[in-house]
Symmetry: C4
Subunit: 308 residues, 4 copies
């Protein structure tokens, strides 16, 4: 109940009550909405994109940016004339272009060997601006690297399916999740909300589901979140078919604190009616090893067995 | 009511009860107050300014600082005498000045080609200090770039006008807002307070307005905040003229959590009585697109139609 | 009352009940305790010191570190023999030492002009390590600059004295404070606790004082915190002499949120009985300027006038 | 009670009710669990490791990485042929290899003296990529240094043993802790939970212990946390033998706010039944020094004396 006050002051989560054919929240936690119009705020969107893109595209972008900048400056230096530089370069055009390119690279990275160096005033001026640009670019790159690493990185993996399985004397709606990273998550909170089609109002309605427990202090292994299907549960008496007919969607919100980086982390996912298995239950993931230490086998996250 | 406890433990928000002719909170959320006296804490104000100024002024400042530093050091090198350097330079004064300038730039950026390099002890000492200064400056610039990008950047855009429009069986005071950025804002809270002239005490008074909902969990589209004008509302029975006569000002406080950067974000705005449209309502901004996905047209934020 | 629940779950604040002659909390907010024994955790203490020391000592330390490192490496290069370098240098010992020093500076800053460069293998190896050290040092310096600027920097200035002045029909214990910086502080909370000698138990006791308001949302000007001395107040009926006899100390805790940097900020101070003026009140600090904007004169923070 | 609501919404802390022979929480606060399976998320695990490893291994890793990179590039340059470089180098193979190595180091650090510099196109291209790699590596190193220093670093040291000692008219379960760092921790909260074997269900059960005080505002010295063993305490009437028989484990959670870095800090530890001393009490750690200032002797943290 505590979480329901915390997460759900209103029933619809901000997703709206009008109803489309698709799911409200995607498996990866993104919201199933497309935004049109209104030019975005450019610089911050660009930063946001550089921070959240994959590692390989990011590095490719850095190298391409380095090449493009050098090609641009090489063209400027060739335009100025390579006779403004101390090393005359070979006789051919290509030799001069390559010399200009290498000089540019040596300037942008500030390595500045000096075997080619600017003599003329214009070339010297352009080179000074290029070395300033180089330093500022790498100042930016430093900030980007740090921004990429330090941003919150929850790596919670949810079970592919939820189950409706025996729980004490009744049944319960259950799913489970693990922390894929080795850092400690603490004060982990879960909240579960069910969206469904209400035939009376012909609208999408939302109801929060009471959990057997909504918060744990330490999260070393896995957590099976349980909504007991007792008399007060909206799932009471519903079959797999009923859920599908109601186009039920279970929306999961997880909140945790990452001890290592002092950051609050959120993760979302959802289960559609099709992703809820009736008559199955999760196999245990943990046991006691030889040394008397609890061992968790992360690979068993999705392991289920027939039940009830 | 929940938010009123959170945001408003007191009615006057910290704005004071004495009354001037102007608005209390400006459209951009700044408070309409001028501070005089008391020399400010220089270094942090300067940092604060560098972090919050626009991108173009910031880059112009960097380039100007680079030029000014080089001009300063060039003057010192010319003063020491260019015969202390390996490249004697041209015969004219301007040639020597430009050589000094380029040497300075090559030292400050640590590119150090070496076609000009210090021979004399004094020139070498000054060059050593300049290269140290260069490195520290770029260490500073790195911190500034990161500070600029990582600081909280709410880009909430509010509707230009608020409306008093039909709401269920009664009317409601409404405004709406969108997130201009593509990042997810979650746990978004709103609080609305009305400031007005109290003819009895001749003071400015503040009252918080109850909201239909004061918090949403996900904020993918737009949120129309509604204060129902029911029997307990201080707006009950008031006309547009009444609001203007009372010099009413609606002060809006928004609080949200930015999932991408793990930061709490605040934004403020206000609507004066003149900015409240009676007998109008907001047009819907979202519909279901071809693929069954909800689509939001951000450009419709201010779209209104006649109502009631 | 709200704050007392938040700040004071216990009455003694963690300061202990045994009693010394001095004040518990110093004017600058530090706690009046000296710690002995237990070797501190070196690296983090060092970092902590580098982050919190003044700007001038920090820059002096950087320059001294630069000089010391260059002197050390110059000694190594002279020991290796300057004949391992391309520029033989002057005949005298001092010339060789200076060449070694300048070469070291050019290596540490990675400016590397090349007019002096290592020939021998040993000299080249030492130079390679020195340039690595240089880069890592400046990586560290970058982190330190950012750490210094980004750490929370509340610049709250409290009035030098508190007053017991007329408040509505009764009197109140009051002090006020301003934000010396131009950034916005929001959701500012205050809590006041009084420490005094209890003649019965002969111990130091703590009691929290109820405030007229304990939180404001916006803090554009100044805030006069008021504890009304009503029937429930422990100050009821006490004179200036009584406070001194009881060795009363008013401990102030301020908590605020810095909007610009998304940081929670705390500041503390205390007023001893000697720092409480009876029969005086604060002069107003704010008025309406020519343009109808509220103006605050920060220099009036300590301005008082006779009262009551 | 307050903390028990905050920390313990459920009794088992997330440790599970199945029971092994070992302790649940280790002395250093880590949880006694081993995780198997599920390939970890590589890049973030690597970053996590680089941020949390010791200072000496981190520096060794940096130097080894520098050497390995230079050896790799030296091999490439030798493969290309040292005749592509301006300094032909000595006649022997080793001379050429060393020249290649030193050139690589001068390129990677961007010191670029220029006494060796690339002539050929291929050598120039590889050198350009190496200097780019160098800059990016040091951008990364900068981020790592800052990440290492800025992450939360609680240095709370707990007393080696807990005691059951006289407390007012009854006894109490007590332990104490200090802050080893000189930074201020504020709003320090403690929560204590006892795990024990329940012979009825043959499971491990958890119960939270009520504390005399669960939060202090300032933490300048030491804090002795006390659970009074009154009539409502589950420890009422239990002897040292009883605790051992029940395989009792006291799990301690500490939460604090680090004022200097605006970070919330958590620390954990546990005491097994064997680590609880009956009939002993802690010696005082603080006294008033010559100048009337409270002095704390950190070395007395574990000092105990016979009691009761």
């Amino acid at each position: 109940m505590a979480v329901s006050n915390k997460f759900f002051t209103n029933d619809d989560l901000g997703l709206g009550t009008s109803e489309g054919p698709g799911r409200g929240v995607n498996k990866d936690g993104s919201v199933n909405v497309r935004r049109r119009g209104l030019a975005r705020v450019r610089p911050y969107e660009f930063y946001h994109h550089l921070i959240t893109m994959g590692n390989v595209p990011f590095l490719v972008l850095l190298v391409l940016g380095f090449l493009a900048t050098n090609i641009l400056f090489a063209a400027i230096y060739v335009g100025i004339g390579m006779e403004s530089f101390t090393r005359p370069g070979g006789p051919g055009f290509l030799d001069r272009v390559l010399d200009a390119f290498f000089f540019s690279a040596q300037t942008l990275t500030t390595v500045g060997y000096g075997q080619i160096s600017p003599k003329g005033h214009l070339a010297s001026t352009v080179a000074a601006m290029e070395s300033l640009l180089g330093l500022l670019s790498f100042a930016l790159a430093t900030g980007l690297f740090y921004g990429r690493f330090s941003r919150p990185q929850a790596q919670i993996r949810f079970s592919q399916q939820a189950v409706v399985a025996p729980y004490r004397d009744i049944t319960g709606f259950m799913f489970r999740f693990i922390n894929r990273r080795t850092n400690q998550l603490i004060e982990v909170e879960a909240a579960v909300s069910m969206a469904f089609h209400d035939p009376v109002t012909n609208n999408r309605r939302f109801v929060s589901l009471t959990l057997e427990r909504s918060k744990i202090n330490l999260f070393p292994t896995n957590w099976t979140v349980v909504h007991p299907i007792d008399e007060s549960s909206p799932l009471r008496g519903m079959t797999a078919e009923d859920l599908k007919k109601a186009r039920a969607e279970f929306i999961i919100l997880i909140k945790a604190f990452d001890d290592t980086f002092s950051q609050t982390i959120y993760q979302r996912t959802s289960y559609t009616a099709e992703e809820v298995a009736f008559g199955a239950r999760f196999q245990p993931m943990s046991c006691f090893g030889a040394e008397g230490r609890m061992e968790v086998d992360m690979d068993l996250l999705d392991a289920m067995e027939k039940a009830g």
